[in-house]
């Protein structure tokens, strides 16, 4: 009986492996093709499209991206926006989550419900009022338009509050006996206590802001102020005929983030499945 079952399992597993392997090849193919094309000349891409690997290996596409466009400014803009926003969101989410979780005050329930409601606000439907507000503030075509409005993150507050709710009472009681200040309780007890939540929040906000296209599209105008995703579409329309450079730009934008993901994939996957289940 056991033997028959193992044999059946082996069959299922082999079939599963073959399916998954084929799917994995299909999933990676666009990456392979992008990289391969980025090392061909545009002429080779168009004249001999069937070459799997470049016949004449060239880095001219990469040289063009790095020298003929403000690529490093774009990179710097993206880094500044993403890092500042992520740090601020980690701080605001955890401290607001802490207050909503552990303090009794009159508007507590109301504010938490309000924050949950803001989580539903669809960005696609808010393009126009957001644009009008940013222009009125005088922030149009300025990097600050991407940074300041995202400081409060409803999802982050929700996630942190859930985790702080679960921290054991005794932790806080002993701190109160020591007469520790509120802020001290926050950074001595709350922050270390919710590290997994902060980890997955970091991944979410970092990815969301790093990859955001719609917001910079609406708020920014000059090429030098752009962040990478907007710059990508700008570059590809500026160099419509230069496929090689376009693929090089796409590779430069996609590969570093992919490498970071592959190195930290365990934490990524854990963080994402954790929030999905919460």
């Amino acid at each position: 009986m056991k033997f028959i079952k193992d044999k059946k399992n082996l069959k299922i597993r082999t079939a599963a492996f073959v399916c998954l392997f084929l799917a994995a090849v299909i999933f990676l193919a666009p990456y392979f093709w992008m990289l391969s094309n980025s090392f061909k000349s545009t002429k080779e891409i168009l004249m001999e499209p069937a070459n799997m690997l470049p016949k004449q290996f060239t880095v001219s596409g990469y040289v063009k991206v790095l020298t003929k466009s403000p690529f490093f400014s774009w990179m710097r803009n993206s880094l500044v926006v993403t890092i500042v926003d992520t740090l601020v969101i980690l701080f605001t989410s955890s401290i607001i989550g802490f207050v909503l979780s552990k303090y009794k005050f009159r508007l507590n329930k109301f504010i938490f419900t309000l924050i949950l409601l803001t989580m539903m606000m669809p960005t696609a439907a808010m393009m126009i009022p957001n644009f009008l507000l940013i222009s009125r503030l005088g922030w149009y075509d300025k990097i600050i338009s991407l940074i300041f409005p995202t400081f409060i993150n409803a999802f982050g507050i929700f996630l942190c509050k859930q985790f702080i709710d679960d921290l054991p009472k005794e932790l806080f009681e002993s701190a109160m006996l020591d007469n520790a200040s509120d802020f001290k309780i926050y950074y001595r007890i709350v922050l270390p206590g919710i590290r997994p939540a902060l980890g997955s929040l970091t991944i979410f906000t970092f990815l969301g802001i790093w990859n955001d296209y719609q917001t910079p599209l609406i708020y920014l105008n000059s090429a030098k102020n752009m962040t990478l995703p907007l710059a990508m579409s700008y570059f590809s329309t500026q160099h419509l005929s230069d496929l090689s450079a376009t693929m090089a730009a796409a590779s430069l934008i996609m590969i570093p983030a992919s490498v970071v993901f592959i190195i930290f994939q365990k934490q990524f996957i854990k963080g994402i499945s954790m929030t999905g289940m919460k």
């Binding site: 399992n9 499209p49 303090y103 309000l114 126009i128 507000l133 990859n211 296209y213 995703p229 994939q265």
Partner: protein
């Protein structure tokens, strides 16, 4: 705890921020939809519900609505089916290395900015003569397809791309959900002589319960708002607007035609769809599942 000073030092700036950047814009959006509003013109008149009346007569709006619904329903259905199947296949492996390898590969496209992958698909994968996809089709003896130029095909191309770029997220979620189902449940099903399909239907699906609903609603919400591929992967919304969706229609009307009043009315429609979906989700949140 109750230190009033600390509470308000934290909450006051937070509430101000929410007021200015979320509540005020909702108000602006609603007000603008009652105006004939062009940011470049000084003459912006109040026209009441005229913009909403126009919605019913506007063939482009109807087309955008139809395309959005087709895209969302097809993509979400295929996404859920494929991600469940893949998560189930991954769960057959005991080795953590094999499992995390596959999860990693399928999740990889979710990491990249959609603009960048859209550019790759539009310039290197889908082109008729030089694209990778047709080359592969030809190699196995199938004819080339005009992926981006044929109004009947363009939605299929967009769905293929969106599945590739987004399915990994749900694979990871379902995978975690299936891992959370205790082994003894399956052992009991084995003892009853249940086949694979039966186990999947009678054990896995019901026990995934909560995460299943969460994933479906979240996927619906995000797909209704998708934007990047519709403005970068296809050119000018495709032949005869065959790839025009609501988010793109709002953008075009507001920022290319500068008709912000009417675009706000279209936004309100999208806004209401998303809010309804979110409320369904909130309701479901109250249902708790225990194994």
């Amino acid at each position: 705890m109750k230190n009033k000073k600390f509470v308000w030092a934290v909450m006051l700036p937070a509430m101000l921020h929410i007021l200015v950047f979320i509540i005020v814009p909702i108000g602006i959006g609603l007000v603008v939809s009652f105006f004939n509003y062009n940011p470049l013109s000084s003459d912006n008149t109040f026209i009441g519900l005229e913009n909403f009346r126009k919605l019913f007569l506007d063939a482009d709006f109807r087309l955008a609505m139809k395309n959005t619904l087709i895209f969302v329903l097809a993509t979400v259905f295929l996404n859920i089916a494929l991600s469940l199947l893949t998560a189930q296949l991954i769960s057959y492996f005991k080795s953590n290395k094999v499992r995390s390898f596959f999860r990693m590969v399928f999740f990889l496209p979710c990491i990249a900015p959609m603009v960048a992958t859209s550019v790759v698909f539009s310039r290197s994968i889908f082109p008729t003569a030089t694209g990778f996809l047709n080359m592969m089709l030809n190699r196995i003896g199938l004819p080339s397809v005009n992926w981006l130029g044929d109004p009947k095909v363009i939605m299929i191309s967009l769905i293929i791309y969106t599945l590739w770029v987004d399915v990994g997220y749900n694979i990871v979620l379902f995978s975690a959900g299936i891992d959370g189902i205790p082994a003894y449940v399956y052992e009991a099903a084995d003892l009853d002589g249940a086949g694979e399909w039966r186990k999947f239907r009678k054990v896995t699906l019901p026990l995934l319960g909560r995460s299943f609903q969460f994933v479906i609603v979240q996927t619906l919400i995000s797909h209704f708002q998708m934007f990047a591929q519709f403005s970068v992967l296809i050119l000018k919304d495709g032949p005869q607007n065959s790839g025009l969706v609501l988010s793109r229609y709002i953008y075009k009307t507001a920022f290319e035609y500068k008709d912000m009043g009417y675009a706000s009315a279209v936004s309100m429609v999208l806004f209401i769809i998303i809010i309804i979906l979110s409320f369904i989700e909130q309701k479901k949140h109250n249902v708790d599942w225990e194994y």
